[in-house]
Structure formats: C-alpha cells, structure tokens
Amino acid sequence: MKKRIIIGLACFTAIFFLGGIYIIGTIQKATSTLDRLITLHQVQILREQLLIDVKRTQLDLAFEHTRYAKGIDTVITNVVLMDEEARRCTGCHHDARTTAKIMGLQGDIQTFETALSRILTMRAGDSRVLAEHDRAFQAGGDLINQLTSIVVSTKAGLEKKTQTSLEGIGSMKTLLFVLITAGPILAIGLAVIFIKGITTPLDVIVQATRKVKGGDLDFRIQGLRDEFGEVAASFNEMASSLNEQMRNLQRAEQMKLVGEMAAGLVHEIKNPLTGIKASMQVLIEQGGFGGEDKTVLLAVLDETKRIEALMKSLLDFAKPPMPHPIPVDINNILESTIAFSLPYSSVAPRTPGSIQTVKDLDPSLPSTLADPGQMQQVFLNLLINALDAMPEGGTLTVGTAAGEDRRIKIEIRDTGKGIDEKMREEIFRPFFTTKHKGTGLGLAVSKRFVEMQGGTISVEGNKGGGTVFRILLPAADP
C-alpha cells in the first residue's frame, strides 16, 4: 500500500508538474510569438513613419521658396525627427541581409540629409543652388522609392506572418483548453482508483471482523495484497488463535464436566467394585471351584482389576491430582522406570533379548522442578507404548539432553510399526486407542501431566521406522 501511495502521489505530482510545465511553456511560446509580432509591427510602423518623415521633408524641400514653405526651424525639426526615426528603425534588425539593406538605407538617408544641409546653408549663384536643389530632390525621391519598396514588401510578409502566428496561437489555445479540461478529469479518475484501492480492502477487513464477531471463527480473509495482505494475515492468525482458544475452552469445560462425572462415577463404582473384587478373591482362595469355573472366576477378577485401573486413569485424566514439584533428576526417574517397565509390556516379547535398550542419558543434565510420581507415570506410559509397538523386537532408545532456552529434552524412540501421520494429532485425545485392550487415556493423561509440569510433549516419525516421543521440561534454576 505504501508503494501504491507513493506511486499515486508521484503520478499526481508528475501530472501537475508536466501539465504545469506544458501550460507555462505554451503561454510563454504564445507570449513570445505575440511579442515578436508586436515588435515586427512596431518595426513596420517605424518604417512607415520613416517614409512619412522622408516624404514630409521632401515636401518641405519642394515648397521651399514658395508661399507654402515652412520655417527653417520646422524643416530642421522634421529632418531631425526623420533622422531619429531612421536610427530607431535601423536599430531593430539583426540578420546580415537585412542589416546590409538597412545600412544602405541609412547611407541614403545621410546622403539626403547632407544634401538638405547643403541647400539650407549654401549661398551661391542660382545655377549652383538649383543644381544642389535638384540633387537633394533626387536623393529624397530615391529614398522614398526605396522605403516604399521595403514597406510594401515587408507589409505583405508581415500580414502572412501575422496570420500564421495567430493560427498557431489558436491551436495552442485549443490544446490548452483540452489540457485544462482533461487534467482534472484524469486527476479525479486517479483519485477514485486510489481511494478505491484503500476502501475496498478496508471493507473486506470490516466484513471479516463482523463475521468473526458473529461467531464464524473459521472465516478467513483471502485475496488481499501488500500491507492489507499483512493485516489480513494477522487477522487470520488472530481468528485461528481465537478458534483454538475457544476449542480449548470448550474442551476444558467438557473435561471439567467429565471429571466431575468420572469422580462421581468412580466414587459410586469404587466400593461395590472393591466388594466384588474381595468376594472373587475369597471365592478363589476358598477353593471348591475347579476347572472351567475357576478360570471364569479369575477372568472376572482380572476384568474387575481392569475396571479399577480404568477408573483410576479416568480419575487421573478428568481430575488429575495437583502436582508437588521438587527438584528431580530426570535420568534417575528414567532409569528406574525403564527397569520397572520392561517386564510389564502388555505384549512382552517371547524371546528374551529381542528388545535392545539403548540409554543415551546426558550425565550433566540439569535438574528440573517436577512431580516425580507424575513424571514416572508419564515415562511408564511412553515406555510401555514403545515396547507394545515392537512385538517382533527392536531397539528402544531413551535419551536426555540439555535443550535450548534452559530446557531439558527427553526422547523415547522405538523402531516399531510407527504411527500414521494423520493419527499423530489424535493420539493425545482421550479414549483414542489402537490397542485391543487399551483405555485410550494413557497418552491423554501423560500430556496432561507434562503440561502441568510446564512442559510440552510431541510425537514424530523415527528415521528408519518407528516413533519418537519428545518431552521438553523447564530446567530448575541453578
């Protein structure tokens, strides 16, 4: 979005800047054209004025010694004006050809002036005076003809140039109108696109917020990019988190309910079950039953014990006892649990030594604060599961190590049949089991106990087959 804002601002700036430059350039060009035109017209006026002045001087000369003759001062003033006009006129041109032409004209003007000065100052015989008059008159006539020729030719050229210039200015004017009209439209169009680019993603986010608020925690924002895409990703993460927390809350509520029910059930079943179990044991010990009857009694006793264990597990899961953490050496707990668990595998291997146990325990493992009983139960569950996973034998590897962030790592690795990847998420759910006689509470209880110690438990596939359970527990302060 930041990039789009910058690009948008750059576009606006470029449009106004280039438009401004073009408009200024156009106005300047039109002004220059008009200025040039005015100058040319002024020059033309100067030429025509010079022609008038020369004609007036020539007229003064023609009327000399007649009753229409003007005073000598007027004649001199007229010639001085003509001279000034000629200087202004000749001062306007610059190109070599025109300059040469004008210089020639200036020379003719000076010749005319010299002749005029001469006849005004001379006192001589009539023939000489008349000759000088004729010479001056001839010079004046030549000058008038030359000027008239220049004025006529330049006038035609100027008219054509004026027409061309005005047409050019007309085109510039039209282009300017188009630009002035199109500029705001373009700017509005860009502004609409720009605003839409901001409001549309905002609308999507607002709609998504309303959906989540309405309880649709599975709704996710799709299709947004840039900064809005980042906001959408954060929103989606938030929604996922909310969803997870909501499920956890629901599960906790369910567990609380199940726990209360289980506690009540265990409390109600425990005494009759104890009575049944005691009765069965008495009957078996008293004898009198033989053969098939005794087998049935023993089976009832086993099932009674199994119900009792199930009740205990259910109680542990639903209403676990409060942990009593103390600094413990995890290696010791593991050692004793391994020694205890091997004989108790539900599907103990028939061939002794078919299970190879590898202990890779870190001797410098820091102690951790944990309830040793609960941790022993966790390890016991995991070890039994590992042994059960290798009915044909295999390698059981138990390892500990100091992990990152002052955590200790415990890994129990088997080379058994492994757990399908899809099932790995399910195995920690209560009552989920793949065993024929499993309660489906062992891993759920283990997870509960580990989390109560401030740790985590996870499962993944073992390289070369089998499963790895990994527990991370916080190390005790040194």
Partner: protein, 303 residues
Amino acid sequence: MKKLLIVFFVGIGLLAPWIGAIGDEQKPAASGSTFVIGLSPERNIFRQVERYTPLTDYLSAKCGLDVKPKAFTQYKDIIDGFARPGLDGAFLGSFACALAHRKFGAEPVARVEGLDGSSLHHGLLFVRQDSGIKTAKDMKGKRLAFVDSQTVAGYLLPLVYLRSHGIKNYKAFFGETYFAGTHEDVIYDVLEGKADIGAVKSSVYHELADQDSRIQWKLKILSRSPDVPETTFVLRRDLVPSVRTSIGDALLTMHDDPKGREVLKVFGARKFVAASNEEYQPVIDYARQLGINLKKYDFPREQ
C-alpha cells in the same frame, strides 16, 4: 518757471541711471524656462545637432535648466539672434564671436580645447592635387569656395591672403566665388570638383582628413594662416549673472567630472578653457586690414 524746469531736468538727471537700468533689465533666459544655445553651421547642421545634444543634455542636468540646441543655417542669423529674445548662448567661430560682441555685446565664456590640447586653429587655403594651381596667380578665373562671410578661416583669412598677393577685387579675379555654408561642404566641393580652391579652418579639415583618406591624398594645402581662437561659447549680454556663472562653471569644469569627460569625448574635445574678448583681437585686426567696420559689417552676398 525757470526753477521748475531746473528741478525737472535735475530730477531727470538723477533718475537717468534708474531708467537705464530698467532698459538693461536682466533676463533669466530668453525663452522662459528653456535655455537656447545656437549652433553655427560649421559642419552639416543635422550632425551639429547630433554632436551638441549630449553637451546640452549635460548642461541641463548640471545647471537645472532645460538647455536646448538650435541649429542655424546661416552665421548671420545666429549673430542676429542676440538682437532679440530667443537665443541665450551660442557656439561661434572667432569672427562670428567678435561680431556678436561688437554688435550685440555677447560675451565669450569658454573656448573649445581640441584633443590635441590646442584651443586655436588656423585658416587653410587648399586645392586639388591635380588642379595645377600652385600660386595665387594660378587661381585666376577659377572657382573659389568660401564657408561664410562671418567666418575667419572661411572668409577673412583667404581675403587677407589674396590681398597680400595683390588681389584686391577677388570677384573680378575668380571665375566664380560662393559661400558653401559649412567648412565640410567646402572641403567636399573641392574634393569632388565642384570648386577649384577652398578656404576652411584647420580643425575641421584635419578631422575630416582622419576620417576620409581621399582628403589627404587628393587635396593640397597652399597656404596656412596664423592661429586664431577655436570655436567659442558666448552668452547674451543681459543674462542673469547666476545663470551665466552656472553655465560657465559647468563648461569650464566638466573635464573634472567623469560624466563630463564622457560627454567631452563624444563631443571631440579635451576640455573648455576660459575665453576673453582680448583673445579675439587678431581677428579684429584681420578685419581692419580688410577695411571692415565690425559694428556696421553687413553680410555680403555672393552672386
């Protein structure tokens, strides 16, 4: 009655200076706020206006007056200009200056000092190289071009020269004589063959010779007169003293002023030097040699 007449005449006698003073009332300038300076037709009259305009503009700025140049086509007219209102000052040749003083009391104030450092000039009598004229005797029947009868170099000096060579009636001696009007016209008339002999002032001759090499190569100077004062600025007699002083001081000190020096450079002079009537005595002497009475001198017309 007799006593009354005596008292009357005594009273008139006592009041006479006052009456005279009324007649001599001083005027600030001839044309109200405009101070008019006449320009003699020493050269092309239009170039004279062009040449003197920066100078009059400078004087306007310096003196707080509206100083205007006025070109005259005849020396006679500019001298007569002092007889009536309309002319406050003028730049005149030395003979015209002496005439203006003798006839109308005009006072010389300042004289032009040329770029060569001289405030004097002399008269030149010249011919074309190919004219075959070498002496006064060779001039017989030829065409002589004067400048004007009120110029020393363009009229008096050639007459003195002719008289010194025994030619008293020049009109009978020459085939044609005329007044070309300006020094410049005399030079070009001889150069272009419109006249055979010319008489001009040396300053104009040499200035034009610097600009036009034909003058150097095609013309030949036959005679050179003694020096006489250069162009002089004169003021009318009845001018207010403060104006007279202001104009005179401005002219005489303009070479000390950077702006004034620029104007002088364009004008073609180094500075103006103070002028007095006594300096024009040689001119008066020439006139006397020729039997000219300056107070009664009228202006001879050539045919």
